[in-house]
Symmetry: C2
């Protein structure tokens, strides 16, 4: 029994070693029947699926990058005043590791290294994962067309890249809200979503224990973690937006930077002059962050402090190698508002901010909608590439209709596949609960899987290296009636197996060698007949 | 309590009368709260959702078109020898109605009427359903760009149209196989799928009681019914394809024509000279009909008898106004085979056959794939329009990856939304059981709904008249926190309601007036804040 347990039968964790023994890139290898080559898949489930690994949530995952970071000699231990105060209740008392930051005068971002011509161990690791050359990874990061979201304080994370010339990624949102869910549940959701293939996880907690919840998640997460720091800033002032200030926000950034958050959603593009346009919309501002900031600007008769302090934010991001996920506070919340003036004006602002961040060698991705009908997706994607200088696009869906509550995961998979094909680098998952409530465990799984399918469809259409291998293996398994292999090659082997079993007569349920399925029965099986034709 | 019962709360059946009192076009009207206009939706659920209707499955539905057909004076009662023999076990002993056919020298197809410049009651009915002018319906049918699949022996069916300038339609496949399911189950599946919005239903039975199953389905179906007559022809010779002959097939067509089947899938485009190309494929011929015919041609060293007898088939189709659904026997069964020589050669042949059918004023649609990656869908759609002279395209999916068993309904919804937007007129649903087994009741519902969402997304993108109304109403309901209306405007009100309820604390579950949801909680609700901004 492998570490993938019952979820992925006949899958085993393997590692491919790079140019040095501590570059060990994990893959999930599916052991196919007969004399077929095993299929090697990109794997984000972390050490949990390695049978030799003994998890201890209170110790967190092994810090696989610590040595690489230390070798570069450009960081120093530094715990800010801010962090000490808020870390009083730190969950990981046992961990000796102290927060790092860049030494004075040093820039520790992957973009800085890339621009200097250095291929870091992180880049080599990614090159092996993505079946490309390390130099190609470096060049894409240097150009800003791809990001490697890896905070120097999250050495547990396995390096990964987000960019449109690489495998399309999927993000899963987790996080408690005022209405419930515990720390253990959130850590479990993180593990659960990476088991099914989430490439990054955003902790969007707005309820109790935000700091501790995050600590548990980061220390145990093999994937990059993103947050929306504004949520915690608001929490610190009892959700009273009147109390928001640059200083409060800055301290929250630093606190989270020291914990190891890999990317921050920052709504710096919601400007005062766009609010009148947003007021004309059918559905106003549907982004939580965007609406809070718009209200604050109106109440305080001031420009967005994230915009006015943007260069200071860049300095903080550079110090820890945190990637910007420039938030689309003005994303459309309904089909009628898609690609409107408010949205497109913000996109241009995000492009200007991208240029500024790049001055600091800070990595940037751009968040996107939202609700967009199929015929307007290409325009949105093309404008993003143009206005934001090819910085990676990271979209929520888009949903292609407003009318699918209960099925918004499918709605989002439709829009996500299309925008992924056009050039989006990461899809934020949407679960069946979207617009209705917080997802449970089953919703998280469903949301991740349908977006993995959408992302894979985008990869096939774009011709991402290696993406056809799985389809080729599935086709051969179909041709040869290798049912077990068909199950195991799917995104959810257990479901595929159960669905076939339940439609077979009881006496045949545990056979796996039938040369037909219950859709057509044996005599009408086109696959069987085709095989006869082929052989004739 | 309306006839839509628990499935669609606050929905009521209404009828819009045409130029004569027996043109009564059904709509489902959703009663919204407050002073909002009711939303009127296209409705295919038939009299079953009319609370004044008392169903009697043994009598079948009211024959709403009998008078229109009789008035034209171009039909006569005629029961063929073929039909009498096979009707010995006829299920509807009580029905006095006898089969009709065209009088000698008359053509009774909607295409013939349209070309003569006549707007039939059927066309007027459709114009009201589709929010267009009757003359527009006539012109599209005359040009072959749309079909009205209505056998004169299925007078129970509510007129509907399939064409790319109209609402995108969804077909649901039902039918028993050698491995199980009963007549009652199949009739129930037909009603069930139309309740959720299937615009047509194909009876693909290959098991026992094919004739009776079909009789029950047709007599009780408010939507057009399609079949693949080859399946029954094979059944008559104990599934031994060696016994296939034109005479056997012809008699089966006539038998089904007299029962009232509205469209036939006929694989007349699978020609001998394409077989060598098909043999080179990764997955050969995955169409049941296509593979049986290919085998027959090889075994008998003969051309496809459906091709050589195509004009005789047209004469039969014309006599009853049956629409061709020219089968894509060579559709690709995997991503690797998409848009290959075999598929595209067949498409050209289907175009030639379309021209021939049109000589007989017989309506034609063209079946399409299958498995096609996103980047090849447009090419396939454009070639279909060109090679088949804009005859409506009716596609199965396409699936955009081979690796999604258990989730192929989502896979198909992705491809279906895209090809629908590009110009496909009807999507054949795919259920979660695709590639694995026969769908059960829950699978049928899931399959129909996700394809309704895909078709609706296509309609929004194409700007089909009236399609935005539902999204506009949903957006307004969201803005005003009318939760009940949001549920009722969705494709599955019960699911939307349950999903929201289960994520609320128990004491709030039966409230419907919260101005927030559990995703963000009250204080962070962007919708609430947006409303404050709007009002300020």
């Amino acid at each position: 029994m492998s570490g993938y347990g019952k979820y992925f039968p006949r899958s085993e964790k393997i590692y491919v070693e790079g140019s040095r023994p501590d570059i060990r890139v994990p893959f999930r290898e599916i052991r196919l029947h007969g004399d077929n080559d095993n299929l090697r898949l990109y794997d984000v489930s972390g050490p949990y699926t390695d049978p030799s690994y003994e998890p201890d949530l209170k110790q967190g995952l092994p810090a696989i990058r610590s040595e690489w970071i230390a070798e570069r000699g450009d960081t120093e231990v530094h715990l800010s005043n801010v962090a000490i105060l808020s870390n009083a209740d730190k969950a990981f008392q046992g961990l000796e590791r102290q927060p790092l930051r860049a030494k004075a005068g040093k820039t520790v971002t992957q973009m800085a290294y890339a621009r200097q011509g250095t291929v870091t161990p992180e880049m080599e690791y990614i090159a092996i994962r993505e079946h490309v050359a390390p130099e190609f990874v470096r060049a894409e990061v240097a150009a800003g067309r791809a990001v490697i979201p890896l905070n120097i304080n999250h050495p547990e994370a396995e390096p990964m890249i987000i960019g449109r010339k690489f495998r399309t990624k999927v993000n899963a949102n987790i996080g408690n809200s005022a209405l419930g869910s515990s720390i253990e549940e959130e850590v479990d959701k993180m593990q659960w979503s990476t088991l099914w293939g989430a490439d990054t996880v955003m902790d969007l907690s707005t309820g109790a224990d935000i700091h501790d919840t995050r600590e548990w998640i980061v220390r145990n997460s093999p994937t990059p973690i993103g947050t929306v720091p504004l949520y915690q800033a608001l929490k610190k002032i009892d959700d009273d937006a009147d109390g928001l200030s640059w200083e409060l926000y800055r301290d929250t950034l630093i606190e989270q930077a020291e914990q190891g958050i890999d990317y921050f959603t920052i709504h710096a593009g919601v400007l005062r002059n766009i609010i009148p346009h947003a007021k004309k919309r059918q559905l106003g501002i549907v982004s939580r962050g965007g609406s809070v900031l718009a209200k604050w600007m109106m109440d305080n008769d001031s420009e967005n402090f994230l915009y006015t302090h943007f260069r200071e934010i860049c300095e903080i991001m550079a110090r820890y190698d945190i990637t910007f996920s420039l938030g689309d506070g003005l994303r459309p919340g309904c089909i009628e508002d898609a690609n409107d003036e408010a949205q497109l004006a913000e996109l241009k602002t995000l492009g200007e901010l991208t240029k500024i961040a790049w001055e600091y060698d800070v990595q940037v991705m751009i968040e996107g909608p939202g609700h967009v009908p199929l015929d307007k997706i290409k325009e949105n994607m093309d404008l993003q590439l143009q206005d934001c200088f090819e910085a990676p696009f990271y979209t929520l869906g888009p949903l292609v209709t407003d009318c699918a509550p209960g099925y918004d995961h499918v709605n989002s998979a439709i829009g996500g596949a299309v925008i992924g094909w056009y050039g989006t680098s990461m899809l934020c998952y949407v679960t069946p609960k979207e617009h209705l409530g917080l997802p449970n465990r089953a919703d998280v799984k469903e949301g991740v899987i349908v977006h993995k399918i959408a992302a894979h469809a985008a990869d096939l259409a774009k011709g991402v290296p290696g993406s056809m291998d799985r389809d080729i293996a599935m086709t051969k398994a179909r041709r040869e009636f290798r049912w077990e292999d068909q199950y195991n090659l799917s995104f959810d082997p257990h479901r595929a197996r159960e669905y076939r079993r339940e439609s077979l007569p009881p006496e045949e349920r545990d056979q796996v060698d039938q040369h037909y399925c219950s859709m057509c029965g044996e005599r009408y099986c086109s696959m069987r007949i085709s095989e006869e034709i082929r052989k004739s």
